[in-house]
Amino acid sequence: MIYNIYRDHARFRNIIKGKIKQDLKKYVTHSEMIGKKGKDMVSIPVPQIEIPKFKFGDKSQGGVGSGEGKAGDPVGKGDQEQPGEGEAGNQEGQHDLEIELTLQELAQILGDELELPKIEPKGRKNLRSKTEKYTGIASQGPSSLRHFKRSFKEALKRQIASGTYDPSNPIVVPIKKDMRYRSWKTDVQNENSAVIIYMMDVSGSMGDEQKEIVRTEAFWIDTWLRSQYKEIETRFIIHDATAREVDEETFYKTRESGGTLISSAYKLCDKIIDTDYAPSEWNIYPFHFSDGDNWSGEDTRLCMEILEQSMLPKSNVFCYGQVESRYGSGQFYRDLSDHFGKENDDVILSKVENKEGILQSIKDFLGKGK
């Protein structure tokens, strides 16, 4: 009877999701959230939704308490919740609701809001993903998995066969041999596989703010692509004048101070693709984030060559995100757009001026459904 609460709960969650969608920009730039990423859930603080009623706005209303202390002593801490109607309503987010969403739901909201098209994967479905389901039956197992009905049936069958079953006194006594247990079956499905290769310029001109932007943007790109592919791999490359592969944590935290040779990253990326990801079997997404400063025109030409001749044919799409920085000239963006043109389907360029620009940039990258 009382179980229709789930309907109201689902309705509430829909309203909340609507709120998140409305304020997506705020949440997209909310980098704390990314830190809260669990296995496949994120917890998002959403301001309490409430039904407005007439109430007093004056804090001076005070109240009654009990305990030791003399006049003038503070009552608990300032941030402690106070009784009565004395709380001011002008501080939004005083009681935030923590809403848990799966990454899948989050991606859905992102996709809806940015009107992202579904990605059409290329390549064969050759990744075998296994799921284990308890749909099987075994004659041995732990008693917590005992299948009562099947065990009973076995016992009944045995008793009828051996003539010990008496319909007028239908007592069925199972013996050990009759016991049946639930057991798993492995389900194999073929999936498309994808890899994202993040490259970031960590030369001296990329400051903390720039890295924060890259980090946030990478989180959302990850979230979206994960919703599109069942299995996804990520690789991280950082570069200044030389490039090296690192783990995720190092990727965001490293700060070097050398010069910048972008070609070094592209070379390494190309090598990784060649070694581990055959283009016929993988959907490959190289993302490069930089402030747009390259050491020399010579190196830029080399970059174009690597891209055009080697990387582009292998990748679904190559994405270059230029993060605005105080020191960067932004030349590389112009070089790329001169070389490949702004409307190239295989090379997507995007400028991220500040945190606010992240959402648009994500749309640039993912809006083509590649």
Partner: protein
């Protein structure tokens, strides 16, 4: 999925507790205990205790918070009981037996209170059915007009659900005004008779028509609607707002349900105090086994805990009932006692009157929280519970203890209880500025409105009234009128206010 029957062990405990409660003279409705799991109790609590409510997201939000609080171990609901006849109470299956017994004893205290306290005398004791019927009707509207449409209308109604008159059920003349109040206005021209069968002859239809017309004309002439500021804003809207039939019905449902919960808000301290008094009395004198004492004491202490800056209605209520019982047992009241200046003598005062029990039964019948505190809150009680008033100090930006004088504490408590600590709002004029706009009036009693919230509420009301809605209030000592017009919240000069 339904609730489970009590286990034999619990049934036995139930019978024992019931017998003891009856032995103490508690007088309750038949009480049905149901065994539910923690998830079910959270759902029930989200629905305000009722198994069937109309669909609305706020129940889902409530549930979300309760179940998270439970999962994270922050809170746990022990008991819940609904004021109906018979009463339904829920036991959480994961609780230990001693807890269940305590809950049962506590519940019998509540049910006795529901049945005998005068402020509950007008409540709908078939609310379980009423709520379920309301749910059916609202579902039908949702099927017909769409969930979004109906739900957002409910949101608006809920935004003003507290604008009702807690004392209306006790005013015979105005009672259930919407139906009966209109009737007399039509019947004014009637020739009165105490023989109903004569009515048709004394007041033929033609005559009635004529009289009605006369009334209507006169009605037009009368200057203001309402004549007096109306506290039951919902009732006023039901009678005057231009709403669809289904909207009127929904508004009526929200109003009825709001009225149902009024006595529980009026007697929070007493009700919990009374129930705690009885669980404590029943458990410690008759029910507890030696082995259970520690668990019981631990649990009881947890319920009675006071945190700084907050008062616990269970604790205040229980202590005040005990205090009254003690005083009436000793005869420590009345002129002679009051006028005694010797504190030692007062403390030892004992006339062997022995009327404590009798007195608290009387108090539970006639009082509500306000009269309870006003009558029985004494200096000694205030000192013993170490109560103080606190206020917000703007200079230090924190709440600070202000006073321990029992008169000040009592005054503050009463102020917090008056109108449930909410502003007094009335409808003042339905034809404000002669433009069919609605004017509300905030009866200012020292505290300003939160204007941000007021704006939202007015905007909801204006969607119901379908014309701009204004409120007359005071902001920092200045008379102000604020109006919601479309999406704008405009301040007007108070001079425009009709006096």
């Amino acid at each position: 999925m339904s609730q489970k029957e009590l286990t034999p062990e619990l049934s036995q405990a139930h019978q024992d507790v019931k017998k003891v409660a009856e032995g103490f003279g508690l007088d309750f409705f038949e009480t049905i205990f149901e065994l539910v799991d923690s998830n079910q109790i959270n759902s029930l609590a989200a629905f305000g205790g009722f198994p069937v409510r109309y669909p609305h997201w706020r129940f889902g939000m409530e549930y979300d918070q309760l179940s998270k609080g439970y999962t994270w171990g922050l809170q746990k609901i022990y008991e819940m009981v609904i004021n109906t006849d018979p009463s339904y109470a829920y036991l959480v299956s994961s609780n230990a037996l001693v807890d269940q017994k305590m809950v049962m004893a506590h519940v019998y205290g509540h049910v006795d209170f529901f049945k005998n306290n005068i402020w509950f005398s007008k409540t709908d004791r078939k609310m379980l059915d009423t709520m379920a019927n309301n749910a059916v009707r609202i579902r039908a509207y949702m099927d017909r007009y769409g969930q979004e449409v109906v739900e957002s209308f409910i949101d608006r109604c809920l935004s003003i659900e507290n604008l009702i008159d807690a004392f209306l059920p006790f005013q015979e003349a105005k009672k259930m005004g919407d139906k009966q109040e209109q009737a007399p206005s039509i019947e004014v021209g009637k020739i009165k008779t105490d023989r109903p069968y004569m009515d048709r002859y004394l007041n033929p239809p033609e005559f009635m028509e004529e009289q009605k017309k006369k009334m209507a004309d006169e009605g037009k002439k009368s200057k203001r609607n309402p004549g007096e500021p109306e506290k039951d804003v919902l009732l006023f809207l039901l009678k005057n707002a231009k709403l669809e039939d289904w909207e009127l019905d929904v508004l009526g449902i929200v109003r009825d349900e709001a009225y149902y919960y009024v006595p529980q808000m009026q007697t929070k301290i007493m009700n919990e105090g009374w129930a705690s008094y009885w669980h404590s009395t029943i458990m410690t004198t008759k029910i507890l086994k030696d082995s259970e004492i520690l668990d019981y004491a631990c649990n009881h202490a947890g319920t009675m805990q006071m945190s700084p800056g907050q008062i616990n209605p269970y604790k205040i209520g229980l202590e005040l009932f005990r205090d009254i019982e003690d005083r009436w047992n000793r005869g420590a009241f009345g002129k002679e006692f009051e006028e005694c200046d010797d504190m030692v003598k007062k403390a030892k005062w004992d006339t062997k009157l022995g009327k404590g029990r009798e007195k608290i039964f009387e108090v539970r019948r006639v009082c509500n929280d306000i009269t309870f505190i006003d009558e029985y809150f004494t200096q000694e009680f205030c000192d013993r519970l170490k109560l103080y008033t606190y206020e917000f100090n703007k200079r230090t930006n924190q709440y600070e203890i202000v006073d321990r004088d029992f008169r000040k504490v009592r005054e503050k408590l009463l102020a917090m209880l008056t109108n449930f600590g909410q502003p007094f709002i009335f409808v003042k004029d339905a034809n404000f500025e002669n433009r069919g706009e609605l004017l509300l009036w905030h009866k200012h009693q020292g505290f300003d409105l939160d204007l941000k919230y007021a704006k939202e509420v007015l905007s909801n009301m204006s969607a119901i009234w379908k014309r701009p809605v204004s409120i007359e209030t005071e902001v920092e000592g200045q008379k102000k009128i604020w109006t919601i017009q479309g999406h704008e919240f405009i301040e007007r000069g108070a001079t425009a206010a009709p006096t």
